[in-house]
């Protein structure tokens, strides 16, 4: 999937701001520190510093350079990236029904089989049912979490190495094939 940063993005459009607000509410509710989210041409990565204080949803205009936007707001880092995609997928419906893959145990989330290995999946990957998405470890019991639906990964909701709770969403998946 060819991704291009679009310098002409400028300030995020209002609809996108509303979407970011929604994701932030989700992050706060779940206590997530980082979320990568993609829907159609809209692709955003939100980082929230845990700790006291209110989190402000202020997206930073994307920079001409490839480096991430500076965290001008101490609470939050937003990288807004417009993604130029071949018109294979029509724009998703606004009230899209995303499927979340949840953790069946309390444990530690690993995005990759080894610290120096590439992740099992990343945003934009198409996955098949039964494909391994991550490992959750508890007491040296490694639980390979598999996709239970075919679809596209639109969100990796936990950072590798972070503890996860029972039932915590790990991935957002857009089911394919209707």
């Amino acid at each position: 999937m060819a991704k291009k940063k679009n310098d002409a993005l400028g300030a995020a459009p209002r609809a996108d701001l509303a979407e970011i607000e929604r994701i932030l509410a989700f992050m706060t509710e779940r206590g997530l520190e980082e979320v990568e989210y993609q829907r159609g041409d809209f692709h955003v990565r939100l980082k929230r510093q845990s700790g006291p204080g209110i989190v402000h949803a202020v997206p930073v205009a994307s920079q001409p350079a490839a480096r991430p936007a500076p965290a001008s707001n101490p609470g939050l880092e937003v990288e807004a990236v417009a993604v130029a995609r071949p018109s294979a997928t029509p724009a998703a419906a606004p009230a899209e029904n995303l499927h979340t893959v949840k953790s069946p145990i309390v444990g530690t989330f690993y995005a990759a089989p080894a610290p120096d290995a590439p992740p099992f999946v990343k945003v934009g990957d198409s996955v098949k049912p039964g494909q391994v998405l991550c490992i959750v470890e508890a007491m040296k019991l490694m639980n390979e979490i598999e996709a239970d639906h075919a679809g596209e990964i639109v969100g990796v909701l936990v950072e590798s190495g972070q503890p996860v709770e029972y039932g915590q969403p790990l991935f957002a998946l857009r089911p394919s094939g209707g």
């Binding site: 069946p104 309390v106 089989p113 007491m139 040296k140 019991l141 490694m142 390979e144 190495g161 972070q162």
Partner: protein
């Protein structure tokens, strides 16, 4: 998951034929068996017999003689033959489906593949040698030919995923007790299930699970034990040992496998019937790491010093940090500080 072919082609594997050959030799200890007779009994050419005898020798089996005079075993081979193990495991869940490989990538990979294909509860996979033995988070398990035990056990417990991590303690205390009986030494158990002799690691257990949110499909418990290694690679010497190095004598791998599987059968059934109390109590009895131990905890996020403060009811280790805060360790390396 690799090794699909290894599992799929199992009924036709050469390993089985070599085992037949070894069983034939073992059934006639100290008696010279002619190559012709062996070839006839197994149903292969004499040339093939010679080839396999050489393979057995490469695996450390002391086969005397040659094609013209016939072959015999000088002493009973310590190869983990399913036929022998099956008899010694009667009455347990683990005697009926034992698969033995001479060389395999990883016993866990093959057991997981078999589990995926519907292999029953109690299936055991053994290998003389692993070419891709695995540990936690992509680490390698040193799997020297025929000197260690490389074994995976398939369990299909009627548990929820939340209860399953206790199986790692069940396997740990079973393997630890087996080592104690075998060596007469007092092995330590490092949370959750590293087997230590004289403070060094002689065995490790890697458990892998396949589950739905409310139901465990299967659990594969992989156990690696350094048994008869005379020495270990330089980079492991400081932290690892073998039963032979620790006790000064060799040990029968077959005896140890039987002890471990019998012990696992007992603790596992007790756990399913009565819950975790007995397992947690046994862990506290045999592990110096359970309470009051100064440790260094390394998680994916950080490394810190702490003192162990017992187990939670679900088997998770509690540690108290230097600042006095007590917290659970879900996953990570716990080492003596």
């Amino acid at each position: 998951m690799g090794n699909t072919s290894a599992a799929r082609t199992l009924p036709e594997t050469t390993d089985r034929k070599i085992l037949e050959l070894l069983q034939l030799l073992s059934a006639n200890p100290m008696i010279v068996v002619s190559g012709t007779r062996m070839a006839r009994q197994i149903g292969v050419s004499r040339h093939r017999v010679r080839h396999w005898v050489n393979k057995l020798r490469a695996l450390g089996v002391d086969v005397k003689g040659h094609a013209r005079t016939g072959y015999h075993l000088q002493k009973a081979a310590d190869v983990l033959m399913p036929g022998v193990l099956r008899r010694r495991l009667e009455g347990t869940a683990f005697g009926k489906h034992i698969h033995h490989f001479f060389t395999i990538g990883s016993t866990n990979d093959v057991a997981l593949e078999m589990a995926h294909d519907g292999a029953p509860h109690g299936t055991v996979v053994l290998a003389e040698q692993q070419t891709a033995g695995r540990g936690r988070v992509g680490r390698v398990w040193h799997s020297e030919k025929s000197n260690g035990i490389y074994m995976s056990v398939l369990l299909r417990p009627a548990l929820t995923p939340a209860e399953a991590p206790l199986i790692t303690l069940v396997a740990g205390v079973a393997a630890r007790d087996a080592l104690a009986e075998q060596t007469g030494a007092v092995p330590d158990l490092r949370w959750p299930n590293d087997l230590l002799l004289g403070g060094k690691k002689a065995g490790g257990i890697l458990t892998e699970m396949h589950a739905e949110p409310d139901r465990v499909h299967y659990v594969v418990v992989g156990i690696g034990v350094n048994v008869n290694h005379e020495s270990l690679p330089a980079d492991l010497r400081g932290i690892a040992t073998s039963l032979r190095i620790a006790t000064g004598r060799t040990h029968s791998r077959g005896d140890l496998v039987v002890r471990m599987l019998r012990g696992l059968d007992g603790y596992y059934n007790q756990f399913l019937r009565q819950g975790s109390d007995a397992i947690l109590r046994r862990f506290a009895e045999v592990s110096s790491f359970c309470e009051g131990k100064r440790v260094r905890v390394a998680t994916a996020k950080e490394t810190f010093l702490a003192t162990t403060a017992g187990l939670e009811p679900n088997g998770v280790l509690r540690v108290t940090r230097e600042n006095g805060k007590t917290e659970p360790v879900l996953a990570g390396d716990v080492r003596e500080a």
